[in-house]
Symmetry: C2
DNA sequence: GTCTATATGAGGATAGAC
DNA sequence: GTCTATCCTCATATAGAC
């Protein structure tokens, strides 16, 4: 008794149509978040969406393509979120990222998805390797750019090393969330707030705004 | 032609004795660092040390036990390093951790080992899950404790929230190293130095030492 | 669109010879 | 201490029926 599924349909081929595709994408994201890409079998995804394993591969030509589809989907969904950050410049960006951290507290699965997959994708033959290299470059570049606008407006001290600061901001968010995923007692929001205070104070020193 | 090994020995059972055990531990650490625990096969380890796969299992009863042995070994080796940090208190600890970051730049494999395995071990059924939960608790506790000594000596402002700061310090180190592993252009040392300046300035504000 | 059946291969672990 | 041979399970992917 290996195949423990019990679909009500009689195999006429009616199916769920597009609904299956959507269900597969969501379930794949959840399971990839738990066990990584390599650690997740197509069969486990199939079970969760109540399809056979080849049923899953009907919608995506391969497991790798499924992962890439999940990443593309998240990109479009995150597009809205990212664009709401686009206009936040200088000190305001640091506070806005606190809002993102707060928002993430409600979505441990998404946080875990990116945490687990980023580490797995350190291997340069991982299907998502290039994706994550690019992702981090873009995030750092955006933070640096928006902080620089604050510098140009005189809000941020002109001698702040923004190229060094952008990776720090990313590191704090990632690193705190990693600790939180491992141990929910870690208070990400409290720590981020202390960091933000520290950073803002540093950025404002000697700025035109301070005078 | 599947088994691509060509040992010179004739199978008399002489072997390398203890040398094999050592070689297995080191190779396992390297491969776990690259592909994680789940992503590494015993066969790949066996190939690298020029043993058969059952030959590897002669030294460790299972793959899980091999991982735990690797972790135990790192703990004893890191013991020396950790004890050199034990006496660094207050502001001095923040600078000493910069030395650790610098030291890590020469050992990407070790950094990657911990990065990859920590994320993989987020799964609560992972063989190293408890190990990493404990590890992070201990690291945070030690940082908090050593900063508190600086507080007691008056070097660090007394209203600093050390329970919030300890996770930040860990996050910055982990997060910067993750970005560096993904993209060697990231300048971990430069970013850590900026962070350290920022944090030290924050900690010194309103301290007795400042007066 | 979904299934069953199957090809093909990899992985962990064990038995038993030398 | 190490090997060969083997077992069993699991995984991805494909072929072809309905």
């Amino acid at each position: 008794m290996k195949n423990g599924r019990r679909r009500g349909r009689t195999g006429t081929g009616a199916g769920r149509g597009d609904g299956s595709r959507i269900a597969i994408l969501q379930t794949a994201r959840e399971l990839f978040a738990r066990r990584g890409f390599r650690g997740t079998s197509l069969a486990s995804i199939a079970d969760a969406v109540e399809l056979s394993q080849p049923g899953v591969l009907h919608h995506f030509p391969s497991k790798t393509e499924l992962l890439l589809a999940v990443l593309r989907q998240r990109d479009t969904e995150d597009g809205r979120l990212a664009s709401s950050l686009r206009t936040r410049e200088g000190i305001d960006l640091i506070r806005a990222l606190g809002g993102l951290v707060a928002h993430n507290q409600a979505s441990p699965e998404i946080v875990r998805f990116f945490t687990v997959l980023t580490s797995e994708a350190l291997a340069d033959d991982h299907p998502a390797h290039d994706y994550f290299v690019d992702r981090y470059r873009q995030i750092r570049a955006r933070i640096e750019r928006n902080l620089r606008r604050g510098q140009e407006s005189g809000e941020v001290r002109c001698d702040a090393d923004l190229e060094a600061i952008a990776p720090i901001v990313v590191a704090v968010m990632d690193g705190l969330q990693l600790q939180w995923l491992l141990d929910r007692d870690v208070d990400v929001l409290r720590s981020y707030d202390v960091f933000a205070r520290m950073l803002i104070q540093y950025l404002e020193q000697g700025s035109a705004a301070e005078l």
